[in-house]
């Protein structure tokens, strides 16, 4: 059997895959928690314009992509936070602008569609030493902040308003998450490509939450799944001679297909073991205490204090409340 580690390009590819597999689900967990699962996709499209600018100006596409993607992410977050437009519309606007700009500028740079393809679908085996250095540095930044600030980021993504009242600068953290997402997209660009990067951010999280019940375990499991999918994807693609990026994504999706029925089974099992949950809202609605008959009908002039109660009016009646119900009054 061929030893993969004998090849320089495979060593670089495996290290890039390992870091991407860790970083993408880490930030992806926060995006899924904020219900912004498709943000990575939008940023990926914007990053394409950044890549094209790099090709046009002769600078490293990885660096121009990270700058343009971060700018795009900040704009999306500001549009979302300040309510100028809804999050998904903000995303869509930049989505289209990014991909159209990328294709036009790549054309102006005189580059072929093949060059563009290597960024759209990844080209992990062509990662150079200088690419790798940038990937390692950015991934370390993403992981340090994503893990180190977990209590704050979790609180902001869980309940923005509560976090704000607690004194957490939620706008700043929102921008941080957006920028970290942009950096992650760029880090993953060479591994799975800009069109598939969101899959590596979201699919491991979706898979993990089939079997987890805490945030901490979802976060850790998603990162483990990300690493397994990325590294095994690179190895598989080497042996099967398939494109590495799509192979990684298919392996991640296969994980979800396996985990979903396991999670459904576990949920059903839990339900069987505790079939009687605590009384819920229905118990209140079912309470139906009848009042005795009345010498008069309650109304605006009956002399009893009227109290608005949901969709009807109760009348305060010697220390309790009466609500008209057909021919009788209920105690409320």
């Amino acid at each position: 059997m061929v030893n993969l580690l004998d090849y320089d390009f495979m060593r670089r590819a495996l290290l890039a895959a390992l870091l991407t597999g860790l970083a993408a689900p880490a930030i992806g967990t926060y995006l899924v928690q904020r219900r912004l699962a498709l943000l990575g996709d939008g940023i990926g499209h914007i990053a394409l314009t950044g890549v094209a600018l790099g090709l046009l100006t002769g600078r490293a596409p990885l660096l121009t992509a990270v700058i343009v993607a971060a700018l795009g992410a900040v704009i999306i977050e500001l549009l979302r936070a300040y309510g100028r437009t809804s999050g998904d519309v903000a995303l869509a606007l930049l989505f289209y602008g990014g991909i159209a700009g990328g294709v036009v500028i790549t054309g102006l740079a005189g580059e072929s569609a093949a060059t563009l393809n290597s960024y759209l679908f990844g080209a992990i085996t062509t990662v150079s030493d200088s690419d790798l250095r940038i990937v390692v540095a950015l991934a370390i930044v993403v992981l340090t902040l994503g893990v180190g600030l977990a209590p704050q980021l979790f609180a902001v993504c869980q309940d923005e308003e509560h976090a704000e009242v607690s004194g957490v600068p939620v706008r700043a953290y929102g921008l941080l998450i957006a920028v970290l997402a942009a950096v992650t997209v760029t880090v993953s660009m060479r591994t799975v490509g800009l069109l598939l990067v969101s899959a590596l951010m979201v699919v491991p999280v979706a898979t993990a939450q089939q079997v987890t019940r805490s945030f901490r375990s979802t976060f850790a499991t998603a990162m483990a799944i990300g690493v397994i999918a990325s590294v095994s994807g690179v190895v598989t693609s080497f042996h099967a001679d398939t494109a590495p990026g799509p192979t990684i994504v298919l392996i991640a999706l296969a994980g979800f297909v396996v985990a979903a029925p396991v999670g459904a089974f576990a949920a059903r099992h839990r339900h069987r073991s505790e079939p009687f949950s605590e009384p819920d809202e229905t118990s209140v609605i079912d309470a139906h205490d009848l009042s005795e008959s009345h010498p008069h009908e309650h109304g605006p002039r009956c002399g009893h204090v009227a109290v608005s109660h949901g969709d009807h009016v109760d009348y305060v009646h010697d220390g309790h409340r009466h609500a008209a119900h057909g021919s009788h009054y209920d105690e409320h």
């Binding site: 509560h162 805490s214 009384p279 009016v313």
Partner: protein
């Protein structure tokens, strides 16, 4: 003069160009339990959201424990229960994890929760009767239990001023009773409470003062009308006099309508 926990003076709030709260004064003394009542759209939620600093004021000032709300440094002093149907988000989280976010104002930027953080969370869990569910995913709890999680999160911070935005909306009788007993304990400890509600139910006996809003203005500010309810009220063999129970501002068209 009594010290004020919350002093909202001449507050107006505009949302999307529409005036929602108009020149409202709301003062809550330290240790007082005030309820803010009104129908949907009366501006009560908007007013408390502005009081805790979530919405900008079009005019007026909000002062909490003597500091303008925007510049209040010690955020530990405010406990806030937002109006939310659920305590869950897009990713699973345990009851314990959600309540721990109530300790954020006490914690350093990075690092593990300290012993006092964990003790505060355990105490809050116990207060709302969810100790057994600490490691369960919040999404698996009933609506009423999730509301208790939100209340426990506010309790975990050990605030001096607790602001609750409709914690009783659509919850089961058990949760209402838990909330009443929790608030009774807090009042005994001298915690100030501002409660937004549609109806008071078992909380009515705790309330010192009711402020009723209508169309963004204060319609009534005074002692809460006595409206107890319960099974014991079924048996009442008294003559129906047809006389008003309370005279003055509470009679007639109904102040809460």
């Amino acid at each position: 003069m009594t010290a004020l926990a919350l002093d909202a003076a001449n507050v107006s709030i505009t949302l999307a160009g529409r005036p929602v709260v108009r020149r409202v004064d709301l003062r809550v003394a330290v240790g007082e339990f005030v309820t803010l009542l009104g129908v949907n759209g009366s501006g009560k939620s908007t007013l408390v959201r502005a009081c805790v600093g979530l919405l900008p004021l079009a005019s007026g000032t909000v002062t909490i424990f003597g500091s303008a709300v925007g510049s209040l440094r010690d955020r530990r002093r405010i406990g806030y229960v937002p109006q939310r149907a659920t305590a869950s988000s897009g990713v699973p989280a345990t009851v314990d994890e959600v309540i721990m976010t109530g300790r954020l104002a006490h914690r350093r930027l990075a690092g593990w929760p300290t012993r006092s953080d964990r003790d505060a969370v355990a105490a809050a869990l116990h207060q709302v009767g969810l100790t057994e569910r600490a490691d369960d995913s919040v999404a698996r709890l009933s609506g009423g239990q999730q509301q208790r999680v939100l209340i426990a999160r506010a309790l975990a911070g050990g605030a001096d001023l607790l602001v609750l935005d409709e914690p009783t909306a659509g919850v089961d009788a058990g949760t209402q009773a838990v909330l009443a007993s929790v608030l009774e304990d807090l009042v005994a400890q001298g915690v100030t409470v501002l409660l937004v509600a549609h109806e008071l139910g078992p909380l009515a006996s705790l309330v010192d003062r009711a402020v009723v809003l209508r169309d963004g203005r204060v319609l009534f500010d005074g002692p809460v009308p006595e409206v107890p309810s319960g099974p014991e009220s079924l048996a009442h063999d008294h003559p129906h006099s047809g006389q008003p129970i309370r005279a003055g501002g509470l009679h007639g068209e109904g102040i809460w309508r």
